[in-house]
Structures are given as structure tokens and as C-alpha cells.
Subunit: 98 residues, 2 copies
């Protein structure tokens, strides 16, 4: 079942690095996206914030890189059982070179 | 600036067909997604709901198709100026054949 988001965005917020009970590093971030998109023949300005999570070794590498522009891809998933609105679970992240 | 979501999901809710001031049909829907995803070598069950919008002729065609499984793609955008959390603006929609 397809579930893939690719997004260029700025890392607007970074939480403290934490570890799962199994010892896997996790970093909670907020991504800020702004772009012009084409819809039904019209340009529209898109601007939103998306909570996201980096899991594994990359969580350690990105913990101090606030404000960097990145290209990410991953899948959407519920934040938790109580909050069913999706956040992005990042599977690939790299600096955005424009 | 990249901003592309592809998702297989069920149309769980459909609002009433409405029209923009310019006369373009708009349909608000809620997509329900459930799948297993691989993360850091582990399977995890993903389950969430995503508000989405269909704009243009396809809004008319899909207005009575509740509960259908679909494959959609589009871009994320703020719901409104006051609610910056993203919804999906659907640009392609077709029935999901599995």
C-alpha cells in the first residue's frame, strides 16, 4: 500500500535527542515548507509545518542542524494511538542544494 | 521545491460538493490509510486519517464514491491561514486495484 512523501523544507524546530527502550536514537523535528504549486491551472502559495521524526543513526547526525534546508522522503504515520493525524517518519534526509 | 505525496487509501468521508467563487467544484474528503511499513529494520503498523481536497471536474465524479479504495497523488498545503497543519490537495485520483 503506497505511502510516500517527498518534501523540500527547512528544519524549523529540533527536539532533544532521545532513545527508544531498545536504544534507538530518535529526533523529533518540525519541517517548514513554502512553495508555489500549480492547481487547476492556477498558481497557489503553499506554506505549512509538518511534524516529523528521524530514527536511527541519522537522528544523531542531525540533532544540531536547525534551520538547514533539507530534502526528505518517508512515509506518513499516526503520531500516537491518541493522535491519529499523520506525521512524517523520515527515511532519507539530505541537505537541499536547490 | 518538491512536495509530492502518493497514497493508497479508503475514502472514509465525503463532504457536500461545493463551488469556489470562480465556479470550480471542490470536494472535501477524509482518506483513511492502513499499511505495514518497514522502519529501521522493523515492521510497523501505520494507520491514520488525512483530510484531502479534490478540485475541478473530478470533484463532481467522486462525490458519491464513499468507501472506495483509491490511489491518489498531490501536494500538501495548509488547510487555511488559521490552520497551518497540512491537508492533501489531490491532483490525481484513481480506483485502487491492489
Amino acid at each position: 500500500m503506497e505511502n510516500l512523501l517527498t518534501l523540500a523544507a527547512q528544519i524549523a524546530e529540533i527536539g532533544s535527542l532521545r532513545y527508544t527502550p531498545a536504544g534507538i536514537p530518535v529526533l523529533d523535528v518540525v519541517l517548514k515548507h513554502e512553495s508555489w504549486q500549480q492547481e487547476n491551472g492556477q498558481q497557489c502559495l503553499v506554506k505549512f509545518e509538518m511534524p516529523a521524526k528521524i530514527i536511527g543513526e541519522e537522528a544523531v547526525q542531525w540533532q544540531h542542524r536547525k534551520n538547514i534546508m533539507v530534502e526528505v522522503s518517508g512515509f506518513l504515520a499516526q503520531r500516537s494511538k491518541r493522535f491519529p493525524r499523520p506525521i512524517l517518519r523520515i527515511q532519507n534526509i539530505q541537505e537541499y542544494k536547490g
